[in-house]
Every structure is written in structure tokens, then in C-alpha cells.
């Protein structure tokens, strides 16, 4: 039996992040929650997840910078931006920085799961990380 897909949820709205993590766990995902960019980058470095669900506006390192650093160090880790601060400009910027997709809160759990599965599928075709298997 294969391992569960690993999803890292990064959002300073802890009630949102924890509840979403619990709902994904009920659907057989292995989840981890971080409340800021620093924690997210450390978690990715420590044990890269399959997918990061990332808020854009957070205290400290913002979501776009977190996205840029993740894609630079771990191109195979897919990032889905999920934010309440939706604008076309933010969406375009996120996609240019390498986000897999851009969603606006609130999002239906079924739609989010479809995106996560599609992101995992696409990471199989992403370039391999240097020095990593």
C-alpha cells in the first residue's frame, strides 16, 4: 500500500488551517499545519510535502516569497495558493512564480481535493530536484 499524499497547509488563520487539515485527514491525506512563512519553509526543508496549500498575506515572509523559495529549492513540490485576498493580479503573479493553481476562499473541499490530486499528478512530470532522488 502506497503512502498517503502529504499536504502542508500554511495560513495565519489557525482556525481555518486546523479545520481544513482535519477534513483532509478524514479523506486520507497526511497533513501538517504552519501558521507563517518561516515555519512553512522549515517544514518543506525538513520533509518536503507533495503539495503546499499556501495563503498569500501572512505576517513575516509573505506567501509569494514563500512560493518563490519553495519552487527554487524544491521544484517538484506543488503549491496551491488559497487566499481571501483574491485579485486577478495576484493570480497572475502567483502563476508566474510557479504556483500550480490559485483559489479564492472559501473553497469547496471537493474542488480543493481535485486540485490537490491534479497537483500531485503533475509533479510526477516535473523536473527532478538537483542532488535529490
Amino acid at each position: 500500500m502506497g503512502r498517503k499524499p502529504r499536504v502542508l497547509i500554511v495560513d495565519d488563520e489557525q482556525d481555518f488551517a486546523n479545520t481544513l487539515a482535519e477534513r483532509l485527514a478524514l479523506r486520507d491525506f497526511d497533513t501538517e499545519v504552519k501558521k507563517d512563512g518561516e515555519g512553512a519553509l522549515a517544514a518543506v526543508e525538513n520533509n518536503p510535502p507533495d503539495v503546499v496549500v499556501l495563503d498569500i498575506r501572512m505576517p513575516g515572509i509573505g506567501g509569494f516569497e514563500v512560493l518563490r523559495r519553495i519552487k527554487s529549492a524544491h521544484p517538484r513540490v506543488q503549491v496551491i495558493l488559497l487566499t481571501g485576498h483574491g485579485s486577478t493580479g495576484d493570480g497572475i503573479k502567483g502563476m508566474e512564480l510557479g504556483a500550480f493553481d490559485y483559489l479564492i476562499k472559501p473553497v469547496d473541499i471537493k474542488d480543493l481535493m481535485k486540485k490537490i490530486r491534479a497537483a500531485i499528478e503533475s509533479s510526477r512530470f516535473s523536473p527532478k530536484e538537483q542532488g535529490k532522488s
Binding site: L20, K105, P106
Partner: protein, 221 residues
């Protein structure tokens, strides 16, 4: 011609737009929390009327989240109308937004708002989204103020060779024959002055086309 809306409006619009983002976060938490309750109820175990009742309540919460998200989306779009003094405006989109935000007001007057079929090609014009939406809103207020319950307002895009704008047609079957026509009555209301003032700002005009029809004509650049 300057379409600038002024520092005060820009300030309010920016704060409003920012707050709509926060409200989305609130709805997201309510949605996920009620969703989790639904997930837990779906775990096989004790069945019964209580469980069904809880599911019914969760369904109502979800309906209201959807309603709230729709409203906050409209509020966000309204706030962003003040972002650019002048920009390319899709008139069909703007009309749909203004009809959506006026539906509640119309329902209170028991008047139906109907969007006429849109032109197949996009109708865009370089203008002030703020003042055009303001003219549309005051025009709807004007019509709602004089129409009787049961009436209908049909709104659509209007265009000819030289100009574009909106056609607002009032249909009032219960209207008394002795009343003056709708257009004439509309022109005598205080809101009509606001419609004309807003249309002047976009180098356009508001005119009465026939007994029951108003045309808002936007000046082309």
C-alpha cells in the same frame, strides 16, 4: 475630461475592498467548520432523526455561506469601481453587477428586475466605471420610486452607430390611465437630477426615449 472620484471616495473604497477580503476569511472558517461537522455526521454510527436534523441545519449554514460569499463578492466589485478613474468597462458585466446589488431594493418594492439578452459581442467603452454605475443605480432608484408593486424593469445594453449605453424599460400593467407617463414622472424626481449629474461626468446623457423607456448614453472618448 477628468473622471477622478476624489480622495474621500478612494479612501473608503480601498478600506472596503480590504475588509471584504477579511470577510471572505470569516466565511471560509464557517464553511470549513460546518463542513467538518458534516464529515463527522457522515461517519457511520448512530442514525436517527437528530442526525438528519443536524444535517438540515448544516445545509442551511452552507446556503447562507454561499449567499454571504456572493454578497461580499459584489461588495468587493463595488469597492474596486473607484480604483481607476477611467478604464475599459464591459457594460454587460457592470449592468449585471448593478442589477444584482439592486435586487433586494426591488424586492422590497415588489418590482421585478430583468436583464435583457446581451449582445453577442462584448460591448466595452473607455469610461468611468464609478460614475456609470452611480447613474445606473440612481436610475433604478428613480424607477422603483414611481412603479407600483407587480411592475417590471427590463434592463439591457443600448447601442447605435455613434454611442453605447443602457436601455431601462419600465413595464407597469397596473398603472392608472390617468397617471402621467412613466418617463415624465421619472424626470420630475430628485433622483433624476443625480442620474443626469452622474451621466454628465462621463460626457454622456440621460434621456427619456418614450413613455416608459430611459436611455443612458455614455460619451465615447
Amino acid at each position: 475630461m477628468s473622471y477622478a472620484v476624489g480622495d474621500e471616495i478612494e479612501f473608503l473604497a480601498r478600506l472596503t475592498a480590504s475588509m471584504t477580503h477579511e470577510i471572505r476569511n470569516v466565511f471560509a472558517i464557517i464553511q470549513e467548520s460546518s463542513g467538518l461537522m458534516g464529515d463527522l455526521l457522515d461517519i457511520p454510527g448512530e442514525e436517527g432523526p437528530k442526525k438528519e436534523r443536524h444535517k438540515g441545519i448544516l445545509s442551511k449554514i452552507q446556503d447562507q455561506v454561499n449567499r454571504g460569499v456572493g454578497l461580499v463578492g459584489q461588495l468587493n466589485k463595488l469597492a474596486h469601481l473607484a480604483d481607476d478613474p477611467e478604464k475599459k468597462v464591459d457594460l454587460t458585466d457592470l449592468l449585471a453587477l448593478m442589477v444584482a446589488v439592486s435586487r433586494r431594493l426591488a424586492a422590497l418594492r415588489e418590482v421585478e428586475l430583468v436583464l435583457a439578452p446581451c449582445p453577442t459581442q462584448q460591448v466595452e467603452v473607455e469610461t468611468s466605471p464609478f460614475y456609470v454605475s452611480m447613474a445606473l443605480h440612481y436610475c433604478l432608484e428613480t424607477c422603483l420610486g414611481i412603479l407600483a408593486p407587480g411592475a417590471r424593469i427590463k434592463l439591457g445594453i443600448w447601442q447605435d452607430d455613434k454611442a453605447v449605453g443602457f436601455r431601462i424599460n419600465c413595464e407597469d400593467m397596473n398603472r392608472n390611465q390617468t397617471d402621467s407617463n412613466i418617463s415624465t414622472q421619472a424626470a420630475s424626481t430628485p433622483q433624476w437630477a443625480a442620474v443626469e449629474k452622474a451621466m454628465e461626468k462621463v460626457n454622456g446623457s440621460a434621456r427619456l426615449d418614450n413613455d416608459s423607456c430611459i436611455i443612458l448614453e455614455i460619451g465615447l472618448p
